[in-house]
Amino acid sequence: MKRTEANPMTDLTSQTSQPDAERTPTRTDPDPALIADDLSVYYGEEQALGGVSMEIPERRVTAIIGPSGCGKSTFLRSINRMNDRVPGCRVTGRLDFHGKNVYDANVDPVALRRRIGQVFQAPNPFPKSIYDNVAYGLRVQGRDDEVDMDAEVERALRGSALWEEVEGQLDASGLELSGGQQQRLCIARAIAPDPEVLLMDEPTSALDPVAEAKIEDLITELAEEYTVVIVTHNMQQAARISDQTAVFLTGGELVEIDDTDRVFSNPADQRVEDYITGKFG
């Protein structure tokens, strides 16, 4: 087992590798976009994620819920290898993205992140104009001369339901927007390069209820095109917007994963029932 530093050339993991053909997806429809297999994450000596195995279906919303410190954000950050940035972070097991383990030695985390967008808990627009924020991804990927940038910016801003509000002020700083608008700008920024997966880490926790409702509607729409994985501490939110819900409990353990309706109406695990009904966490 080696440390997963940012160096793409490092041999990243020891793998309990099985041929992909042997996998029998538990859910036939739709295809899984991501498959975690015994994925563990350690920060130094401390285990933050304990052997998680789950599938994330394509073009659906998968919600990850659980009490604070249960490793749900860690799981999210291990999908696009943002954990590589944490000193002393170590990953074992595998995480397949279209059948390819993202922790394979020949995977470049930068290339991976160009296909998996992320939206953070606190809105973090760059100190640039609205236009430049949205165009950022295409520009760093060097795709600015192959696309019609104006059209792409408009498409992304429409996609994040922000276009109407900022149409006339694309040159204004992204920092001049309200908190809710900033978060939708960050969503526009994430979807502009057309990723396949969108990771959202409690994207509404810093927002007021009105902004929160807008973003929730938006997530449902985004799922028509993108695979969405959303971490939330808000169970109502998970119930409202997700198709599938995974429940993590303390120690980074995945306790239950199933259709959202079933998890909330009839959980298989007693601890999950306790958590959902408020007896836990």
Partner: protein, 368 residues
């Protein structure tokens, strides 16, 4: 999303180009960081190398290549001689004379900067209301930002002719006259407890010495005053930071016992911030040792081991200035003496910096 690009997160040509740029930039920036180390190493090497030439007649590099040792200046002469005149027709290399100049000015300046700086820090940290603080602090920053050459001019055009000369003219010489007069009024010697004590003669001598104090263009006292003033902001700003870092609980505990502000300042804040305050003193001393232009223009160019504050005196830095201004040809002993003196200066300040660092770290361990 096209299906065939789905496994494309291994990286494409464009990304590997970006990666290459990234690696090159990293190397360049590492080079920048390494250059700071190279600077330090270069300072050491250059000073030792040229100082070796001064002592042994050959550079270290030349000695390693097998050059014969040709003792020019012996360590005994350098460290114990008491006359410093490398460019004199009869040269002499006793560095003590200019080390004395640096020492006496540094110590004298510390007698100004330490009390004034500490008092200023205490006032700013414990007494001043925010508006006074906001007015006083920029003034101290300005004082620290004025070029040393300006302080040199200030010494020549004000401190010496007005202040130091004033002390000599209106205090020292009149007192000397008084002492002399008393001496003449008393018997030359008095028998006390069986032995002769030369009271009158001593007083006359002291009085004459004081009456002879006239101030030229340069004086030790002017150097002490100017360097002292220049180092006040160093003491005050770092000491104030240290005092501000003392937790309020400590103060509250004392106030709750009925202590006055003065009790708290002297009994709680200063002891608690002691290592931080000491660090500021060490830094101020280090700056005073390395101070060049102001001290050169204030204290002068006459190497001289003296306690008389009205006499001209030369520091190590002043010697370096005068030597660099003269036409010391490369390779001469005078030229090499620059580096021997520079090495002594560098090692002294290095020692101060290490002590300062230790004190700072100790303070940070206590409060952060």
């Amino acid at each position: 999303m096209s299906g065939d690009s789905k496994a494309g997160f291994i990286g494409d040509e464009k990304l590997s180009a970006d990666r290459r740029i990234d690696r090159w930039i990293r190397r360049v920036f590492f080079g920048c960081a390494a250059l700071t180390i190279v600077t330090t190493v270069a300072i050491f090497l250059v000073l030792f190398d040229n100082a070796a030439n001064y002592f042994f007649g050959a550079r270290i590099t030349e000695l390693l290549a097998g050059a014969t040792l040709d003792r020019q200046v012996s360590f005994t002469e350098f460290f114990t001689g008491t006359r410093w005149a490398p460019s004199h027709a009869y040269p002499s290399h006793g560095v003590l004379q200019i080390v004395w100049g640096t020492t006496v000015i540094t110590v004298g300046a510390a007698f100004i900067s330490i009390p004034v700086g500490t008092a200023t820090a205490l006032y700013l940290a414990e007494y001043a209301d925010p508006s006074t603080r906001n007015r006083l602090k920029p003034i101290l920053e300005l004082l620290a930002g004025i070029p040393t050459i300006v302080y040199g001019f200030f010494a020549v055009s004000f401190v010496t002719p007005v202040f130091v000369d004033g002390i000599a003219t209106y205090i020292v010489r009149p007192i000397g006259r008084a002492v002399h007069w008393i001496g003449t009024a008393l018997p030359s010697t008095v028998g006390v407890a069986g032995s002769e004590v030369a009271i009158g003669a001593t007083l006359i001598g002291a009085g004459e010495a004081m009456m002879a104090q006239y101030v030229g263009r340069y004086s030790m006292l002017a150097g002490i005053i100017v360097v002292g003033i220049m180092t006040i902001p160093m003491v005050s700003s770092i000491s104030e930071d240290a005092m501000q870092a003392v937790p309020d609980d400590l103060r509250d505990g004392a106030y709750a016992l009925g202590a006055t502000k003065m009790d708290v300042s002297l009994g709680i804040v200063i002891p608690a911030a002691a290592s931080g305050i000491l660090a500021s003193y060490v830094l101020a001393v280090s700056r005073a040792i390395g101070e060049t232009m102001a001290v050169t223009l204030a204290a002068g160019f006459n190497a001289n081991i003296t306690f008389n504050p009205f006499e001209e005196i030369m520091t190590m830095t002043a010697y370096m200035v005068s030597m660099a201004r003269g036409e010391a040809a490369v390779g001469t002993v005078e030229y090499q003496s620059l580096f021997a003196v520079g090495l002594v200066l560098f090692l002294l300040t290095l020692l101060m910096n290490v002590v300062n660092d230790l004190l700072k770290r100790r303070f940070q361990e206590a409060y952060r």
